[in-house]
Amino acid sequence: MAALIRSLRAVRSLRGLGSAVVATTCPASLYGGLRRGFHRAALLASDSKSDQTVPPPSHHEHYQAQEPRQGSSTFSTEQASASDPGTQHEDPWPNTSYQDQSGEQAEDYETEDQLQARILTAALEFVPQHGWTVEAIAAGAETLGLSAASAGMFDNGAGDLVLHFVGQCNVQLTEILAEEHNQVQLGQAEKKKTADFLRHAVETRLRMLVPYIDTWPQAMSLLLLPHNIPESLKHLSTLVDDIWYYAGDRSTDMSWYTRRAALTGIYNTTELVMVQDSSPDFEETWVFLDNRIRDVVNMANTAKQVQATGEAVVQGLMGAAVTLKNITGVNQRR
């Protein structure tokens, strides 16, 4: 009986592979389909190792709600078996769809991206042990009940893990800054001065690296690999843009660029200081950060002063020229 069910599932996965290749539901079409097929094979392999899985309670409603919408015949066999009270409900596809039932997916499990995000998040706890490597991803996949081979889903390997972590930290920082912004709007908190705000934002973001600080140099070198540079630069630029936005920058001239360039410099140099800082609670890093921010503020003030002085000098020169013209009589109007 069990052998019959396993062979049924093998047929299903093969059909799934076939349909995945043919299906055009996902935007990345063929490649995405292949990866999804690989994903299903990985799940199947892991499930054959594990014992019976109890399907989550919403499983039935989910399938039955999907039934009227299903055009393709891909899931007709599952539906037949799901509603069959005789067979055991060993469901190889955990119903982890986070989207509501009217989401764009035709298949009723989570998207590729959501699954990858879950695996990478789970992999982070193995980073202190394995470093930023594919082994950490494999270990993370195993904690989710998937096969270690599903780490092969990530064609960029450890680079994917680091980029995922960086993106996650940036999102967390944006949430913190938005929350603080709300509090200021509601009058529950004082508005910080720009220098203090920048210091607070950069410190908050860098503190997220503390649990991984020993392996962070490895992560930084991964981010500098040529094929990772475009995406890591994108993460860096969104980070800096978010921080300046919440600091209140609404400029629309060259200072938009100069401010972001300055903050990028501050952030990168402070990060570098942090990875080799051995003082308690990274005090030296925060002192360094303070000094760099103060430098930038001083430079901005100096620039303003230079401009004001320049304008005054130009006014003076114009006045002198007019006076000279008057004296020499060139300015006479006859």
Binding site: R250, S251, T252, D253, M254, W256, Y257
Partner: protein, 201 residues
């Protein structure tokens, strides 16, 4: 010498509490709107600088008040775009300093040809800008006119102002400048290049 600075206009007439743009629903829409607003902002910034150049030369002549009038309207447009860019986190084009200098030089050099030269420059530039606004209006209407009603209204209003400047230029003997067709073609080619570049960077 900084020729252009966003002037201190009485902003109470611009005091609106709602945003002109709908919240973007995906990255592509945000990119498209960003590009449109970036080039519009660059255009108004450039026009501002051109008028500043013209005023620097012709400010004390008879056509001074006329040019000043048109310049004031451009300042209002620029102010509005500054607000929109700030609210919607749109990156301004990196070419702004170049447009500053180029615009000022264009305005000043055509004004040296006399009042007719300044008017010819105005006609050419305003025609370019109106054409550009029209193509944006067409693009937005094709996309989804209901979603972008406020933005469409804003662009139409600005386009009408620019057409008015164009007509004013024609009324004031723009076509009588020697080499009018050559001047106009050159200026419009420059405007097209500027628009192309500002959309991208």
């Amino acid at each position: 010498v900084t020729a252009c600075s966003p002037c201190v206009v009485n902003s109470s007439m611009l005091c609106r509490k709602y945003t002109v743009l709908p919240p973007p629903r995906d990255k592509e829409e945000k990119a498209m709107l960003d590009s449109m607003l970036r080039v519009d902002h660059a255009g108004e910034y450039g026009a501002n600088c051109i008028y500043a150049g013209q005023m620097a030369v012709l400010g004390r002549t008879q056509s001074g008040p006329l040019i000043q009038n048109m310049w004031d309207q451009e300042k209002i447009h620029l102010q509005k775009f500054n607000e929109i860019l700030g609210e919607n986190r749109v990156r301004p084009t990196v070419m702004l300093p170049l447009w500053n200098i180029a615009g000022f030089l264009l305005g000043a050099s055509t004004a040296l040809l006399g009042k007719e030269g300044a008017m010819a420059c105005t006609v050419a530039v305003e025609e370019s800008i109106s054409e550009h606004y029209n193509s944006q209006i067409r693009a937005l209407m094709e996309e989804d006119p209901d979603r972008y009603t406020e933005l469409l209204q804003l662009i139409k209003e600005f386009r009408d102002d620019e057409m008015e400047h164009h007509d004013t230029g024609l009324e004031h003997d723009a076509e009588s400048v020697p080499g009018y067709m050559i001047l106009k073609t050159l200026i419009q080619a420059g405007c097209k290049a500027a628009i192309y570049i500002s959309q991208r960077i």
